[in-house]
């Protein structure tokens, strides 16, 4: 079941909210586990401990809370938890340790471009946004990377390193099965 605009939220019916997170279905009881005004970022971080995503601006301006919903990058601070009912959420904890993007972000040290992170606070958000970008555009140009990741802020300013990492990851095979 998916919630459509105008339909009463499941919370009102007291039926459990079901969300698939990193491959596993979870049930949340309205009033106990989940509230109508609870954001998805709050549910994932505070209730479930998925702390890879960060809440930095809490108003959809920085991308630090980016997770993937049904294959698309979403800002979890701007989504109500109940909006995820019936949907599939992927957080950075759900990526393989061998994920090409994680390896590329970690390994970036190509001269002239710096590293792909410094403090690392924005990094999970960038990795998830890049993950969604590569799904849509397996070999993006630099311009497409810049546009695709322009919803994310890195105050340490590692944009050059991030772009290089995404370009490199786009040329590497997925750990299992290869790219579509």
């Amino acid at each position: 079941m998916k919630i459509r605009p105008g339909q009463p939220a499941p919370a009102a019916e007291k039926t459990p909210v079901k969300i698939k997170i990193n491959g596993q279905w979870h049930e949340f009881e309205p009033g106990r586990d989940i509230e109508p005004a609870m954001t998805l970022s709050y549910l994932l971080r505070e209730k479930l401990g998925y702390t890879g995503l960060k809440v930095a601006c809490d108003e959809g301006a920085c991308g630090a809370c980016t997770v993937i919903m049904d294959g698309k990058a979403v800002l979890s601070c701007m989504k109500l938890a109940v909006e995820a009912h019936g949907h599939e959420i992927l957080t950075i904890e759900g990526l393989s340790a061998n994920d090409p993007l994680i390896r590329a972000f970690a390994g970036q040290c190509e001269p002239g471009y710096g590293t792909a992170m410094q403090c690392g606070f924005c990094t999970p958000g960038f990795v998830m946004a890049a993950k969604a970008l590569l799904k849509e555009k397996p070999e993006p140009t630099l311009g497409e990377i810049k546009e695709g990741l322009s919803g994310n802020i890195c105050r340490c300013g590692c944009y050059g390193g991030i772009a290089r990492a995404v370009q490199r990851a786009s040329r590497e095979p997925e750990p299992e099965g290869g790219k579509p």
């Binding site: 920085c62 040290c109 606070f121 924005c122």
Partner: protein, 795 residues
């Protein structure tokens, strides 16, 4: 920016002056993998309620007025709200008894006591008072509740009768007779008085400036204005305080731990060993926390004491704006002979301190004094004058590049203007006049950064007379400009900080634990430490991967942390590590000598083997020395007393190429070249990340970032990231980082800090390039399109 085809775009790595195994290498950060995988836990992650089941959340009342006093306060309804566990007000004896303080008191660069705080003349803050000095000031009351929502609701239930006072936002208006006075007991005319650290209003008076101007054949005058920008760390400042009867424990994402412990101990009258401060990863610092709402640690502690439960306080994004860059209005005047020899320089600044003095005078007087000692050493006549002025704006100061960024905006301005008036290339003018006290002219370091920058930006081909370049797309004009500055110099830091201690533990298997504590804020000093340690312990035949660097600073178990300020940590700690490594070797040789029945002085260690110095002979591994002996690790804990030797400063510079759309006023930066003479590059990838990364803030300050106030109410209007514009990846130009090793300081590596300097020259380089493009000067940043159109007479 030009599209690079995938796979190309290789840039030239820098060439190290001295070949080394690990120092200066291009490699990933030591924490890169855990950060990329999202496994790094920041303070906000470590303080979830699931980890602290009894956790309460604190919220503080914020002033709805730019200037007001609480006449009466009734918190009874808030106290009765279900879920509220404590309400503290400024009337509570525990709160009222707290000493007056300053948000800048723990710094200077290092831990100080209450009596020795750097700006002790300006203790103008109450931890929680009844006097609100600016809109959104923390004032009056604080609540601890079961959730942040309940705490916020409780604040709304507090009934307050305000006495609304007149306010002033502009520092020049605040200096006029009849202006509202913010802190009459400290500054009866809003102007901060002379103090022992900053000095008097004329704080530099070298030679005779009047005489120098009389000797001049050419004189120029200029103005530059810096507005409030904010650090914008993604990781909002927070703390969790758990005050148990026997001990107060604090978890925070402050950039220091030992300073926090001293602050809390002295303000709450607790012995130092009853205060435990733990700090680990910080999601970006940029000067955040050196000024701002520091008192929140104290009221959070009192709430924990009152409730007997752990209490968490976290800035909202809105509240994160309470830390910012100090605005300053600079005027500069320079006189020179026709051949370009500068005869006199005069600078005057009026700084908007905002509602609390904090570190104002650090920016206005302390930093320019150091610049005078360094870069202006060959200018015979220099006068500098400064006024820090209280207003009802947000208090500000410590932000990456403190004081230097504001000064560079005028410094690079007068150099560019004077060169134009003399008909000289500003590069030649700079080389003719600026160096440092310990060397002659032209300065080798300055020559290297300016010549390299000119080459990389294409100076000779692209620089034209102001506004006289070719027009692109009918309305677009291009220009190039640069600015330069003395680098952050660790020799000064070292003298001011005192001894720094590290501990190296070599285990029997030759794996190493390096205790070189500093809070990990992303600067790369953690990786510098490990590379420096691997280099210094090279005789063990180990590499960086064999070294563990504990990332948590805990005042109960760690050595005192080296504070993450002044771009100095990599340099300072590496020097001590090299010193400690020599001691490690001596201790290992003693161990081996006993085993081999030889004299330690006849032995040496290379590649992990102990052997006789004379001839190859028999050798054994260091591992065997341990394994055949008592298997006790070698632990060396040592410090390095400050080295008072000063050898001068290297230089840094930024070159910019811009394109200005004369029909819309939009400025697009096409390219930035960032040049740092590092002395020794400690960690190339980290240094480049600092060079490239600093441009986000530098370019933000130059073009888009500014806190805007409603003049009618004094209320800040854009305390959010939708209206406060931070550059994204799509906004940034191609950046070319250039690392140089020309100057060499004292010590093992002779390196100097680079982090703060990377953004210091950016706004002025961009402004000079804009002038070169359009031929009209714009004096204040950020250069938004309307300012360009106004300058062009189109708006």
């Amino acid at each position: 920016m030009k599209e690079r085809p995938s796979g190309s775009g290789a840039k030239t790595p820098y060439k190290p002056r001295v070949p080394r195994s690990f120092i200066g290498s291009y490699r990933p950060r030591i924490d890169a993998l855990e950060k990329a995988a999202g496994k790094t836990e920041f303070a906000d992650d470590l303080t979830l309620k699931s980890r602290y089941p009894g956790l309460l959340y604190a919220k503080v009342l914020r002033s709805p007025y730019a200037h007001a006093r609480i006449k009466s306060l009734d918190a009874s309804r808030a106290e009765q709200l279900p879920g509220v566990k404590a309400v503290l007000t400024y009337k509570d004896p525990e709160v009222a008894a707290l000493k007056p303080t300053s948000a800048g008191w723990t710094d200077g660069v290092d831990t100080v006591s209450y009596e020795r705080m750097m700006w002790r003349h300006f203790r103008d803050r109450r931890v929680l008072g009844g006097h609100a000095c600016w809109a959104t000031d923390e004032v009056g009351a604080v609540v601890a509740a079961e959730s942040e929502q309940i705490a916020e609701e409780a604040l709304r239930l507090i009934k307050i009768e305000w006495e609304v006072l007149p306010f002033v936002l502009d520092p020049i208006a605040a200096m006029q007779p009849g202006a509202p006075i913010i802190h009459p007991e400290i500054a009866p005319r809003n102007i901060l008085p002379k103090d022992v650290v900053g000095g008097s209003d004329v704080f530099v008076d070298k030679g005779d400036a009047d005489k120098g101007f009389a000797q001049a054949e050419v004189v120029i005058e200029a103005t530059s204005i810096h507005h409030n920008a904010t650090q914008a760390s993604l990781d909002n400042w927070c703390c969790l305080v758990d005050w148990k009867p026997d001990k107060l424990t604090v978890l925070s994402n402050s950039y220091e731990a030992d300073q926090s412990r001293m602050h809390i101990s002295q303000m709450l009258n607790l012995p130092l060993n009853k205060v435990r401060v733990i700090s680990s990863y910080v999601g970006g610092q940029f000067g955040r926390g050196d000024t701002g709402d520091q008192p929140f640690f104290l009221f959070t502690a009192l709430l924990s004491k009152r409730t007997g439960r752990p209490v968490k306080f976290r800035h909202s994004r809105r509240e994160s704006f309470h830390d910012s860059r100090q605005p300053a209005i600079y005027t500069g005047k320079v006189g020179a002979k026709k051949d370009g020899t500068i005869t006199a320089m005069y600078f005057k600044s009026i700084g908007n301190s905002g509602a609390y003095a904090d570190h104002t005078m650090f920016a206005l007087k302390f930093a320019p004094t150091e610049i005078t000692e360094a870069a202006l050493a060959h200018i015979l006549n220099v006068r500098m004058e400064s006024y820090g002025v209280y207003t009802n704006k947000l208090p500000a100061c410590m932000m990456r590049g403190v004081g230097n960024s504001q000064f560079n905006l005028i410094f690079g301005h007068v150099v560019d203007m004077l060169a134009e008036k003399l008909g000289m290339d500003p590069i030649d003018l700079a080389l003719k006049n600026f160096g440092h006290e310990w060397g002659g002219l032209p300065d080798k370091s300055l020559t290297a950064v300016l010549r390299e920058g000119a080459k990389r930006i294409g100076w000779a081909a692209k620089r034209h007379k102001p506004g006289a370049g070719p027009v692109h797309d009918r309305v677009k004009k291009r220009g190039v400009g640069f600015s330069f500055h003395p680098a952050w110099h660790a020799e000064w830091q070292e003298a001011r900080r005192g001894e720094i201690r590290v501990r190296i533990t070599v285990n029997p298997d030759c794996s190493v634990v390096l205790d070189a504590p500093t809070v990990e804020t992303g600067t790369g000093s953690n990786t510098c430490n490990v590379l420096g340690c691997a280099e210094a312990l090279g005789f063990l035949g180990i590499g960086p991967e064999d070294i563990v660097w504990p990332h948590t600073v805990d005042t109960e178990t760690s050595l005192k942390d080296c504070v993450q300020t002044d771009s100095a940590v990599s340099y300072l700690q590496s020097e001590v590590i090299a010193h400690a490594a020599r001691e490690v070797k001596a201790r290992l040789l003693e161990k081996a000598a006993k085993l081999l029945k030889a004299k330690p002085e006849d032995l040496d260690i290379t590649g992990g083997r102990v052997h006789r110095k004379a001839g190859p002979g028999k050798s054994i591994t260091v591992r065997d020395v341990f394994m055949r002996g008592d298997m006790l690790p070698v632990v060396v804990e040592t410090g390095r007393p400050p080295n008072p030797e000063k050898t001068g400063v290297p230089y840094i510079a930024n070159f910019a190429e811009v394109e200005v759309d004369t029909s819309t006023g939009r400025v697009q930066v096409l390219k930035l070249v960032v040049l740092n003479d590092c002395g020794t590059v400690m960690y190339a990838s980290g240094a480049e990340a600092q060079q490239i990364g600093g441009q986000v803030t530098g370019l933000g300050e130059a073009l888009t970032e500014e806190i805007i106030y409603d003049e009618a109410t004094g209320f800040p209007l854009n305390f959010n990231w939708l209206d406060y514009k931070i550059p994204t990846m799509a906004d940034m130009p191609d950046i070319d980082p250039a690392l140089l090793e020309v100057w060499r300081g004292a010590g093992e590596y002779g390196a100097c800090g680079i982090g703060e300097g990377t953004l210091t020259c950016t706004p002025r380089a961009v402004l000079n390039a804009i002038y070169n493009a359009i031929g009209v000067r714009i004096d204040d940043i950020p250069v938004k399109p309307e300012k360009v159109l106004r300058a062009l007479g189109k708006a």
